[in-house]
């Protein structure tokens, strides 16, 4: 279990996260919703050790992640798909994926598994990743994170800037990951897709965790969606 226990995080002197607690179980998708500036991406960066956690703790099973250096966190089984893909554009698709494999000395079977989720990448292996479309880059970023065999995958707005069919592929992949017992902490702006794939929803506002719900409850009472995300449409 990935456990965030009363953490506060800051950028220099600016306190961004305040007393945030949540848990993600293996094989569960936790959707993190909130307006821009609510602290969602900062929470993911705090878990990854990129933002200083000045109170509370982050742990996975018996490992206290908040005491580790940033490069040690993926080795413990936390994958991260950052906002905007962030590939190594000068490296080919294959080289990008192998960068993921090397982190935990994963076998080629892991690469095959990651590629089975995105079969189109098999035809792009020798292409430089900087020349791929946005959707394909997102697939590479996700596959690369999966190559470290994560127990938990943190995804920061994976659908950003993608065409609808590609967004659907991303959400389908998240559902498949759930079946593979990978826990996913998903930050997204696409509300309907997030509600469809998530088991639970946490709302954030101004650096605080405000409310926890689930898609069924939100379908019956979408008030938190309007309150924290500004969405009036009912969940489908």
């Amino acid at each position: 279990m990935l456990k965030i226990d009363k953490i506060s995080s800051r950028y220099a002197q600016v306190q961004v996260l305040k007393d945030v607690s949540l848990e993600v179980r293996e094989g569960e998708v936790l959707g993190l919703l909130g307006r821009n500036g609510a602290g969602k991406s900062t929470l993911l960066k705090s878990i990854m050790g990129l933002v200083e956690v000045n109170a509370g703790s982050i742990s996975m099973d018996d490992v206290i992640l908040s005491e580790l250096q940033a490069h040690q966190i993926p080795k413990n089984g936390i994958g991260y798909v950052p906002q905007g893909r962030r590939l190594f554009s000068e490296l080919t698709v294959e080289e990008n994926l192998k960068m993921g494999l090397l982190v935990r000395d994963s076998s080629k079977d892991v690469l095959e598994w990651a590629l089975s989720l995105f079969p189109v990448l098999k035809t792009r292996m020798s292409q430089k990743s900087g020349t791929l479309s946005g959707g394909e880059q997102q697939m590479v970023a996700t596959a690369r994170a999966l190559c470290i065999q994560p127990k938990f995958l943190l995804m920061d707005e994976p659908s950003e800037g993608l065409m609808p069919s590609m967004i659907e592929t991303i959400f389908e992949t998240i559902e498949k990951l759930k079946n593979e017992n990978v826990g996913v902490l998903l930050v997204e702006q696409k509300i309907e897709g997030t509600l469809r794939v998530s088991d639970r929803i946490v709302f954030m506002e101004n650096g605080f965790m405000r409310e926890e719900s689930d898609p069924q409850a939100l379908a019956e009472n979408p008030e938190p969606l309007a309150k924290y995300v500004g969405v009036k449409a009912h969940a489908s």
Binding site: L50, Q69, A70, H71, I73, E90, L91, T92, K98
Partner: protein, 320 residues
Amino acid sequence: MRKKSLIYSLLFQGGILLLLFILQFILPTYHHSSVSKIMVLASYAVAYNFLLGYTGLMSLGHAMFFAAGMYAAGLGIYYLELSALGALLFGAAFTLVISLLFGLFALRTSGVSFLIVTLMFGQTFYLSILYFNEFTFGQDGFSLAKHLGKLVIFNKEYLYSNPDVRYNFALILLTAYLLISTLIMFSPVGRILIAIRENESRTQLLGYNVYYYKLFALVLSGTFSGIAGAMHALLFTYVGTTFAEIHHSISPILWTLLGGAGTVIGPLFGTGIMYYLVDIISGITSNYQLVVGAVLILMIIWFPMGIMGTLRQKWMKWLP
């Protein structure tokens, strides 16, 4: 694809090295000596390229490593009466220690701070040579001609400064550096160095300890620069402070950028072109730096990624 690229690049580099081997039988004395010098300096540039071209770290103090190898080998021969091989190994070991110590401090910084720290270390080393002039012979430098033993091949003795010995040793050094560079760049470590160059924090996020990889690149680059310096001392039998001065730190930057930073063979082309550019223009005008500067600006406009970098982008995709 990678295997194909490796074969193509080895063939390409092999072709160039074969051409250099054949040239020694054709070139007139002056150019024979110039090409020997270019090959040693190009080896230094190849070593520098590990840091700038592949890891994205720019050093303004690399002359320190070149001079450290050169002085360790030279002083080792002068005071300890080391053999040529012993001096080369002594130079390599000394530079390995220097670059490791330097890296442990300097890599605590990054960006402009790293640049300044490297400059300061380089200048400190240069000034130390001058300060301990009773031991190092200060600005005058010293000749190894009377102290260096001879190379024995099939019971026949040769001076290390013999043009043929010099040429072939320089060629062996360059060949070794190009081969090692190519193999590293096709290895997982090479990919990680390129990833660090592209984005350090992204590489760290993926689970790599970038500090250790940067330290590896710096120690490798520093030690190889030192070996090139030691080889220079042996083949040209002179050790002097010129090689520790700031301009000798800037030169490999220009050679690398002109030839193509991040390409294995680029520094060789950059060094060769710059060497002959300075050589030819300084024979025409004393204001050669002005002309060389103008030519360099034009070349950067035509080849923004350096000569081999631009060729790789347009045609030679397989070039490492």
